[in-house]
Amino acid sequence: MYQYDAIDQQLVSERVAQFRDQTRRYLNKELSEQEFLPLRLQNGLYVQRYAPMLRIAIPYGMLSSTQLRKLADISCRYDRSYGHFSTRQNLQLNWPKIEDVPDILAELADVEMHAVQTSGNCIRNTTTDQYAGVISDEVVDPRPYCELIRQWSTFHPEFAFLPRKFKIAVNATDSADRAATQVHDIGLHIKKNEAGDIGFKVIVGGGLGRTPMVGVTISDFIPRADLLTYLDAIIRVYNQHGRRDNKYKARIKILVKALGIEEFRYRVDAEWAHLRGKESTVPMSEFERLQSFFSEPDYASLENNPDSLTAKLSESVGFARWYERNTFEHKKPGYRIVTLTLKKAGQAPGDATAEQMQKAADLADRFSFSELRVSHEQNLVLADVRQDQLVDLWEAAKESGFATPTLGLLTDMICCPGGDFCALANAKSIPIAAQIQETFNDLDYLYDLGNIDLNISGCMNACGHHHVGNIGILGVDKKGEEFYQISIGGASGHDASIGKILGPSFAQEDISSVIQKLMNVYVEYRYEDERFIDTYRRVGITPFKEAAYAKAN
């Protein structure tokens, strides 16, 4: 993974010093609440319902075991010994003290980490596929390009006070879009053109929140050397023309929609004409420098399906289930990608205790070249596990609660922290996740239902991505009471779509029974092996709606 040089290190250290001074001036009342707000947000610090929340960047999801141990250690000494992995590959601490944050940032800087631009109306942490670099069908490894974007966006002097937050995600394979790029302000798809040159298909104006939209293609191919000048052009147009009068209409998607993609593209091209070919054009030497950090680890020369694996697969149903659901094909023979799920019943989705973080770091050291990734679905990934060590890893993962074999199934939910923590939330989301986990606890049934994305958000800000869940649950406030609106038909992959609302919202205690009714409709209507989303797309919303609102006889 990327290693800081003296310059990278100096920048994060200077950022810590800057924020230490800002915090001191805020606590002395030299800086007003209003002035401190964007400054702390650009360092990932929110003031939440009960305490501040610090969002630490995990750039494009890459984490060394040393870094994860440091996060565990920080969570013990400055927080309540756990953290929450978010959908955008960040880690959130829910209970730090404001006055401790400069010290936390200093400790993070010691392990090449920071909380720069994890919040605020600026360019946020760039995200990508958690399987980057280890799958066989990607165009190229997207991580060097993510690092390029990270550096370009870090302390960008022109774009620190945009109309609204700005999120970029990168995908490098046609076989899947695990980074939900089409619902980002900019989605980048790495492509090779007919001449074999690497570039990007650029999608703009996707996003969730109150007005969910799937992005539209602004360019089919921007050569990689021109990436930064093109991004500068898009964001310069947005910075000048995006709405600033209403925060709910300030995202770039609203501007793109208002102008129409033709006019928006025309303006971007006009801006780009001035920037293209200038100093920000990326030279080959920089791509080579960045690629050198993501060279392959020292893989052993192995065969697929060693005897120890096939024997265990035939004798242990539990192991076979875990292998089927929680591991993924690796580009190298004899290796497998393993997801350590953070979806154990009784634990909030995406939460990890300090002990679990330490355990995961140990597993990374023992099984996967001391590296991990954080996924959009709020799980941890060991990318390079030898197939002949999968049984050992499974045993160890089970002990730490990482082996719930439900990756991609109904109970592998995405869930925001909701009203238990967040000041913005209208309703709690964690108890809904817990209710669903308790109700749908029969693995055979979950396997029969197959791949279903269920996403829960506690409010319209949609941090739990409910719009793009095959089933989406949204907390709403009705005269001071918490209710839940259910939508179906959303998707976040290459076939991204926004879900449709079933109808009037439901009481908290009814959620599981409504989900059960939706599942019954699916099972009744599905063709053999048809996924839930495909059945929905074929039969439409009506039978689901009728079942959900049918009066009991």
Partner: protein, 159 residues
């Protein structure tokens, strides 16, 4: 005489920022860009400069000799309104303005680092800002990844 920060020092302000469109401009006046555009053929005195309101953009300067102005002001109606960052950069890089670019309005000292990098050279803060303290925030970072108005080369050309 009001004070401001210019080129890293606290100096006296020798111009008059004219916010009242009815005011008669003098040679020291910095007048609203829209007023200057409307009146430029009938103005009796040459003004020291113009100031740009957030939302004006800088495209209206196309075909105009910007270096006839000693100073161009950029107004921040709120410090979180970042349009002025693009305006200053475009004034320097697109329109070739060599004179003083002055930040006016509600910006705050903690923005100085970014403001300097996009081409601002003087800063007329709100009256309640302690300029001595603001000066300390002039240069929060000693290096930068991106190119900027001072040095257009990104770090990858200097690393």
């Amino acid at each position: 005489m009001p004070k401001l920060i210019k080129n890293g020092e606290i100096v006296n302000d020798t111009y008059v920022w004219s916010q009242d469109p009815e005011e008669t401009p003098t040679t020291n006046s910095i007048i609203a860009a829209q007023k200057w555009l409307a009146d430029k053929d009938t103005l009796e005195t040459k003004v020291a400069g113009i100031w740009i309101e957030a939302g004006d953009g800088v495209d209206f300067l196309e075909g105009i000799d910007v270096n006839q102005f000693d100073m161009i002001g950029v107004h921040f109606p709120a410090f979180a309104d970042g349009r002025g960052f693009s305006y200053a950069r475009l004034l320097r890089e697109r329109h070739g303005f060599k004179g003083d670019i002055r930040a006016l309005g509600q910006f705050i000292p903690d923005q100085l680092g970014y403001l300097l990098r996009v081409g601002f050279s003087s800063f007329q803060f709100n009256e309640n800002v302690d300029l001595e303290k603001a000066l300390l925030l002039h240069k929060p970072f000693s290096v930068a990844y991106q190119g900027d108005v001072a040095d257009p080369r990104p770090l990858f050309l200097r690393r």
